[in-house]
Symmetry: C3
């Protein structure tokens, strides 16, 4: 069975450098080269997506969302207004962002109603499957949020967090592997050093 024969036709003069599955929807004109958008995914007008990204099925990228290059968004993820993912970020399946700390549906609101909150995900960070990210929050570069975790506060660069609410559980290398107590990668042997306070996390030691 070929379900693709009612697919959207592309006019000959439109030759986007990115791929959209016939059942995917892309309304944005700001999608980079080599990016792939899969079935039942929807990229809204005003969303900004870099090059070589992968946008999984049933995912959603809203106007005001910003993705860098080489970002992976797995299935069932919504990237709302106010969410920025730097280059090489990984967002696992059904992981859930938010941008409204006090959600209410319609009805009268008091004076000075809340504005939307922002989430910033640093370069190379990974968010595990089905994790929940409660804005406003910053996830540091190369941090790793365990699958199913609920993140309620900032995560330092290279930190591993897990649980509900998510708690510090160690440190990880840029490659994702755990660091030893001496802050060295157990796999690729890269050495890291603390940068100021624990909240500032780790940085790679200069060679």
């Amino acid at each position: 069975m070929d379900s693709r024969n009612d697919s959207t036709e592309r006019a000959p003069n439109e030759a986007p450098a990115f791929f959209v599955h016939p059942k995917g929807l892309v309304d944005s004109e700001d999608v980079g080269e080599g990016t792939r958008v899969w079935a039942f995914a929807h990229v809204l007008k005003g969303a900004k997506i870099g090059s070589h990204c992968n946008i999984g099925e049933c995912s959603f990228v809203e106007n005001g969302a910003v993705l860098g290059d080489h970002v992976t968004i797995k299935n069932g993820v919504q990237v709302w207004w106010g969410v920025t993912c730097e280059d090489y970020v990984f967002v696992g399946p059904n992981a859930t962002f938010t941008n409204d700390h006090i959600p209410r549906s319609g009805g009268p609101k008091p004076e000075g109603e809340p504005t939307w909150e922002r989430t910033h995900v640093g370069t190379g960070a990974s968010i595990g499957a089905n994790a929940t990210i409660i804005a406003p929050v910053k996830l540091g570069a190369y941090c790793l949020v365990g699958a199913g975790s609920v993140v309620t506060r900032d995560v330092p660069p290279h930190a591993l967090v897990m649980g509900n609410p998510a708690q510090a559980a160690g440190w990880v290398c840029s490659c994702g592997m755990r660091l030893s107590s001496e802050l060295q990668c157990v796999k690729c042997a890269k050495q890291f050093v603390r940068v100021g306070s624990p909240e500032q996390g780790l940085a790679e030691a200069s060679a």
Copy 2:
């Protein structure tokens, strides 16, 4: 790229007072005026939806589900048979309802097999992103279920709950803001009073 040119055509004499995205599906004839149903969402025949609701992408409203007016269902939410949401309810993205306490797939079942369980969500209540609601359960009016929480028992009106399993964490105003220890809204100054036992929650104090 306009992905909408293979959209479902609407016959001239059908002029629904609600909006369905060309990639959304509405089989129910019981949808109120001003309601919007977005792409890859599906409202089944027998589902009842009030006016001015917003049904997000990849959401699903089953026969036997009932939504009041001004209800917001964000993306990736399934509203099963047995779930009722009163007016002004907010259901966050990927929040998950259930209606089968003892799920098994097919096969022989013992005598007196379980019936589906019900969930009732009171007026103005909000369910945070990626929360799990385990039926049978009642969520009281204007309660707030924290994002990523797992609700295993009834939530009183105006209660704030969070965690896995969800635990009481304070009280919130109709506007969503926290109440002080004197049960007054820190923002709009509304005063609340306890109503009988803690399980009965709060009500707005009469002026």
Copy 3:
């Protein structure tokens, strides 16, 4: 409104013994008789699905995934490469599998990069709504994973687990009901016995 009039047409000589909703996608040729695939679900080429399965909306079955007979996959579930579900498995809505313990998006990887991990779900097991299953892991036959749980290690046959991380919380019958402290079903009276170590779980006592 009939949204189905742009449905995929099936050629007369293709008469699959399974059902695909006009808005569902099935690229696999290995789907059993009586199986139903619903709207916005996608079964990839190379996925193997048995007979009489039910694949919910917005779900995804990847190449390399294997489902037995009578398996229920509710809405919003992704069954990745490396996931095998035996007969009569139930997977609740928005439950999330994984196959990459150390997810990173692109970029340089160290030598000997990680391979995908596998998940095996035994006959008759049930995974509750919005649960997270962290591979590699084995879920034993007829076990029951509570809704919203995060499974980080193997679950014995007939075990009930819940929480984040999921912990042992009792035992359940093949029918799903709790067992008494004497390991007898409170409903259908089946008797069970321990099989070796606790990790090996229970088996039905011979008559």
